[in-house]
């Protein structure tokens, strides 16, 4: 009887431990990376990004996430930010700086967006999902400084 109770306590403790350690879902953008360079000027960059989601709101948010993902992990050809800001090894970088990216995609990303304007009507896809294209202008200088301050990337120099 006593052994059973002890076992129950251990199971309870294990559940408590594993629930507190479990991964929180990062709001990954949809797999699409249709982001194209439009213009850049004095620390800002403007891109056209496509987002896909279950509804208009989700598609719009995914378009914004796509734009940031490309800057962080892919780099944007034709712009001066051809190299990714963080690195090409996306999964490793996300895991290494999980707290930062969780927090960033939860709400902080909005503070780096200077404007986000839809450039297409919402399109219904065959699989029932919605798609939208937006023009998004990002404060690149502030974004880079934020990554530096949070030790996600190195400051210029060694």
């Amino acid at each position: 009887m006593k052994t059973n109770k002890l076992l129950l306590y251990f199971i309870f403790a294990f559940i408590l431990f594993s629930s507190s350690c479990s991964k929180k879902t990062i709001p990954f953008a949809s797999a699409s990376a249709e982001v194209n360079f439009l213009s850049e000027n004095d620390g800002t960059i403007t891109m056209r990004a496509l987002g896909i989601g279950a509804n208009e709101s989700e598609a719009f948010t995914n378009a914004v996430f796509n734009a940031f993902d490309v800057l962080f992990f892919r780099g944007l050809p034709e712009s001066q930010q051809k190299n990714p800001l963080v690195g090409t090894n996306e999964s490793e970088e996300r895991l290494k700086n999980k707290d930062y990216f969780d927090n960033f995609y939860r709400s902080r990303f909005q503070t780096f967006v200077m404007s986000q304007i839809p450039t297409s009507e919402i399109i219904s896809l065959n699989n029932g999902q919605k798609s939208i294209a937006i023009d998004i202008k990002i404060n690149l200088t502030a974004l880079r400084k934020d990554l530096e301050q949070n030790n996600i990337i190195r400051k210029f120099g060694f």
Partner: protein, 299 residues
């Protein structure tokens, strides 16, 4: 009894979490700030051009240089001011020759710059408008390794305002130029920085590179290479050439931080290790360090 077990388990769990968090914090706070390289932006000069007057007469070059320095400042990096160094060199009568390329070398050496960025401004005027092209190149002073290269263009406009065109040419490429430089810096952090090691003999020395010394009686050049293999960062070194009287390593990688203490590491510390190695072989070495080049002379 139940309560006791429960409280005990909770305490155990909390202390386990504290242990994990504590480890993370100590790793984050254990960072050592590395000594940053000195970077100087200089104008490109053709052979025979007077470096001292070229900047004073050409506003486009001054604008280009200032814009490049501004880009470094935006990234939170302070550069060595070339114009101030030039003035100070003139005041102190540093220049001893009329050869202009020598003056450039002298300024680079005098400034103690580790990296210099050379900016060439080409202004063009045609029937379809005016334009400015900019060639930017960054070099490591010690080895001459190229760190970043970019060509910027202002685009063609019907204007005589070359100052504005120079500005536009810099803006078109400077961010990309700095990004590439940063990726090279990251490579230096991961794979070490380059130094040159020049080993030679004093005129009255009884030793040669072929002299068999040490407990295992191996030729000196082989002893040196074996040591270099062990001590160069990640076994990364390159021998330019070996003769009986000289051995030059034109690229030896050393770490930015001491691998055991985590403190900053520099060519001086590497030279000391090399000095100890020669002493250990029963030789009398003399060491001289100039920038990132180590000169060892065996007496």
């Amino acid at each position: 009894m139940k309560k006791k077990y429960f409280i005990g388990l909770i305490i155990l769990q909390l202390s386990f979490f504290n242990l994990i968090n504590g480890q993370n914090t100590s790793t984050k706070s254990g960072q050592v700030i590395t000594v940053q390289p000195k970077i100087m932006v200089i104008p490109y000069t053709k052979e025979g051009e007077d470096l001292r007057t070229i900047l004073e007469n050409d506003a486009n070059k001054r604008i280009a240089i200032t814009k490049i320095k501004e880009a470094f400042d935006t990234r939170g990096f302070t550069t060595v001011d070339f114009i101030a160094k030039l003035k100070s060199a003139k005041d102190n009568n540093v220049f001893t020759t009329d050869n202009q390329s020598d003056i450039k070398t002298q300024i680079i050496q005098m400034s103690g710059a580790d990296i210099y960025v050379q900016a060439e401004v080409i202004a063009e005027k045609g029937q379809t408008g005016s334009s400015v092209k900019l060639i930017l190149t960054a070099y490591e002073v010690s080895t001459g390794n190229s760190l970043s290269n970019k060509v910027g263009e202002s685009g063609r406009f019907y204007t005589e305002d070359y100052n504005k065109l120079s500005s536009k040419a810099v803006e078109s490429c400077v961010e990309d130029f700095l990004n590439i430089m940063q990726s090279k810096f990251n490579d230096i952090v991961n794979n070490g920085k380059s130094i040159i090691v020049d080993i030679s003999f004093d005129a009255g020395s009884q030793y040669k590179m072929s002299s068999e010394i040490g407990s295992d009686k191996l030729p000196l050049s082989d002893q040196i290479e074996m040591w270099m293999e062990k001590n160069a960062f990640k076994n990364n070194y390159h021998i330019q050439g070996t003769t009986d009287l000289k051995m030059i390593f034109d690229d030896v990688k050393i770490p930015l931080k001491d691998q055991s203490t985590g403190n900053n590491y520099n060519p001086n510390k590497f030279a000391l290790e090399l000095f100890k190695f020669f002493k250990g072989l029963g030789l009398q070495p003399a060491k001289d360090i100039k920038g990132s080049t180590i000169y060892i002379t065996i007496k």
